[in-house]
């Protein structure tokens, strides 16, 4: 009995967390409600691919020129995979944990994005924001902002690009590493050899 009193005095009465009456301290790495910033989102769909619980979905509605993104906090398992893969930091797991609801519809969040249309075939091929983000990235990596090739390449759909490349190989835009390699002359001979080979083949075909 004496021992029990001693323990009680030692432990004190402050064992219980006063949570609903006082805000709770959550640790820095706590994974709470995924906070989505729709302005920063480029609707690339990386998070919907990474989500193990299919809590994130994305669907394309060509008729209404819309791409709809939706998260269900009901199904979300708060793993943070979406945060890992997001290229623009549009989705981050916050410290918010008070997510209980009485109305299930409040567990859903959605965002609608418009689609970009190809300049040649006028078909929707990517979200507008993704295209402008790629443009910004390419400009940052050293391409000229006013380069007509750049805007033409970005504003045509992949199948039209492929068709154009088949007709004219000069329209190919290579990455920075390819240009570096060309400058070092290590790839130049390979490429020229390849071209000669292709020409021979086309001649034979004719």
């Amino acid at each position: 009995m004496f021992k029990l009193f001693k323990t009680i005095i030692k432990v004190g009465t402050k064992t219980t967390i006063k949570y609903p009456f006082e805000p709770l301290d959550v640790c820095d790495d706590f994974r709470g409600k995924p906070e989505h910033d729709p302005e920063q989102c480029i609707a690339c769909g990386a998070c919907t691919q990474a989500c193990p619980a299919n809590a994130l979905i994305m669907e394309t509605d060509i008729e209404n020129n819309l791409r709809r993104w939706e998260i269900s906090f009901a199904r979300c398992i708060y793993c943070g995979r979406c945060e890992e893969v997001c290229p623009t930091n549009a989705i981050t797991l916050s410290q918010e944990f008070e997510l209980a609801v009485t109305n299930k519809a409040d567990l859903y969040e959605e965002a609608n994005f418009t689609l970009a249309h190809c300049v040649e075939c006028a078909e929707a091929y990517a979200p507008t924001k993704a295209v402008s983000y790629v443009h910004d990235l390419l400009v940052q990596s050293g391409l000229d902002r006013d380069d007509p090739y750049l805007s033409q390449l970005l504003n045509t759909c992949p199948s039209c690009c492929r068709r154009a490349n088949m007709l004219d190989s000069r329209t190919l835009v290579h990455g920075q590493y390819f240009h570096d390699a060309l400058a070092n002359d290590s790839l130049a001979c390979d490429v020229s050899a390849d071209k000669v080979f292709q020409q021979e083949r086309s001649n034979q075909g004719e």
């Binding site: 199904r75 944990f97 209980a100 609801v101 920075q176």
Partner: protein, 261 residues
């Protein structure tokens, strides 16, 4: 199905929740208003992984102590005011769950607990899973989380008893005209950014690595060649973590090596 004549239909796989009497809804309101005693909770496990159960018991321990509010776990549904359904409702547990629901005296409050209880969680598309408590019984409160923390559990209970209000609201965003995602750390060359992010994620795991690389690049972007060392030192002393110091040091070496070419 093309060319295949449906013999039995698919009614046997459709889920129809138990229909609630309008009088019970009224009774529930009076119960919430005039409850002058403890609220007893009965926990129904409909095929969960027991993560939720562990968190429920954590909520009843002296640290979080739901018994402050008179919320107590009971052993029989006949004593219960609140029914707590965990798990994704498997085929085998559907009938026992319904029996527990019927056994509890009216008016009863049904709480759907955890990601599986709310919407099936990661098991939502399994063949033997009904996917959510609301597929079999009418639900009053949803507590999402995988599993919900004890604090979230207390918040959910408080909401079920009408003590606290709901914070989460449904949100819908439509793209505005000329809305654009901003590029971060534009002062740093793209190739260096890639090196930093790759190395940080290799060293400290994917999520933490991403955060560390972001913070490191923020320090780099705002400092010049002369101030970068002092800024990094201040950043590390603020963090006061030997693990972060080591990672940032390695990142700094990589960045310097890149700049030297």
């Amino acid at each position: 199905m093309k060319g295949i004549k449906s013999l039995v239909g698919n009614d046997h796989t459709k889920t129809i929740p138990v229909i609630q009497d309008a009088n019970f809804k009224k009774l529930k309101q009076t119960l919430l208003k005039e409850i002058k005693r403890s609220a007893y909770v009965y926990r129904v496990d409909c095929g969960g992984c027991n993560g939720c159960e562990i968190e429920i018991f954590a909520a009843t321990t002296p640290v979080f102590d739901t018994e402050r509010f008179g919320i107590k776990i009971v052993a029989s549904p006949r004593h219960a005011d609140i029914l707590l359904f965990t798990g994704a409702v498997t085929r085998a547990m559907r009938m026992p769950a319904l029996r527990a629901y019927e056994a509890a005296p009216d008016p009863k409050i049904v709480v759907s607990y955890g990601a599986c209880g709310c919407d099936g969680g990661i098991f939502h598309d399994l063949y033997c899973v009904w996917g959510g408590t609301d597929k079999i019984v009418p639900v009053d409160v949803y507590i999402p989380g995988c599993p919900p923390t004890p604090a979230a559990t207390i918040y959910g209970f408080a909401m079920a008893l009408g003590l606290l209000d709901q914070k989460l609201k449904a949100r819908s965003h439509n793209e505005a005209e000329n809305e654009k995602a901003t590029l971060k750390h534009t002062g740093i060359p793209l190739a260096l950014k890639t090196i930093i992010e790759r190395e940080a994620r290799l060293l400290s795991g994917y999520r933490q690595g991403g955060i560390l690389a972001d913070e490191f690049m923020a320090v780099l972007a705002k400092s010049t060649q002369e101030t970068v060392d002092a800024n990094l030192k201040r950043f590390l002393s603020e963090k006061n973590d030997p693990r972060i110091s080591e990672i940032i040091e390695i990142l700094h070496h990589k960045a310097l090596a890149f700049m030297r070419g």
